[in-house]
Subunit: 146 residues, 2 copies
Amino acid sequence: MSADLLHDDVALMLRAGEHRYTTGRRQVVAALHAAANPVTIPQILEVETSLAQSSVYRNLAILEEVGVVARIVTHDDHARYELAEKLTDDHHHHLICTTCGAVSDFELPPEVERTLDSAFTASAAAANFQIEGHRLDLIGSCANCL
Amino acid sequence: MSADLLHDDVALMLRAGEHRYTTGRRQVVAALHAAANPVTIPQILEVETSLAQSSVYRNLAILEEVGVVARIVTHDDHARYELAEKLTDDHHHHLICTTCGAVSDFELPPEVERTLDSAFTASAAAANFQIEGHRLDLIGSCANCL
DNA sequence: ATTTATGCAAATCGTTTGCAAACCT
DNA sequence: AGGTTTGCAAACGATTTGCATAAAT
């Protein structure tokens, strides 16, 4: 997706939540868009050195609230953030390295995703659980750490 | 599995790692065994009031290290712990409630698990990633919070 | 007897928050 | 002007750690 369309979408989503699309928020979104993989807040601060740490924390919380970013919690020290799938049209899962903490993306074949979705729907119905989303991660060692 | 066999297995796994199976560790394992769902450390301390918080943190870390327990990280304040699947012979996944933080278990049909495993193996090979395990959780609202 | 585990209190560190100044509309 | 957002520094809270004592082998 082009950067302009992305920013337009983000602006709409923020406005729907009564928030403004400020320069700082734009920089955060740009950093996430530029990153190949989910990134930590220290990594964002390294790239966008003009941002205050507390503002990045606050803005990522707001961006998560309005559905622009997804937060990924691992056993690693820092949480990681990426643009929401809705914005990138890219359904994927994560490879989480237990050695270095890196998180990278991978995809499953569409027919596997369909199988999964039906199974999820059935399981959730049986437990009277209302699905908002799912997370499917592989835990192990990445190519760099092998 | 009977409690005795469980404790025997745990004792072996701890000894393999040069650790002792003390009373405190036994109490932690018993609490996990008694719990229907993955529990937080405050929940363990409520049940086993004689345990010191720091020892429970330390012992769960050791039990995780030797493969007796699995730690589940969610967006919730506290991590949750459960007995490792290897010990309970029970492969399952989690329903994570975004409202109250509760985590409960569910299972997928065996044929879905098989499909998933093949897909994982293929994806990991393509990324040169060595799988140690996976996590597959449904995020949403539990029956109590609907 | 020697090593490992415990309990307490203090330290750590990612994240959150209060508040006054700066910004947007 | 009237609200929101920012940056700084201080607060918070889950988890970790130092150290002297107790328990296990």
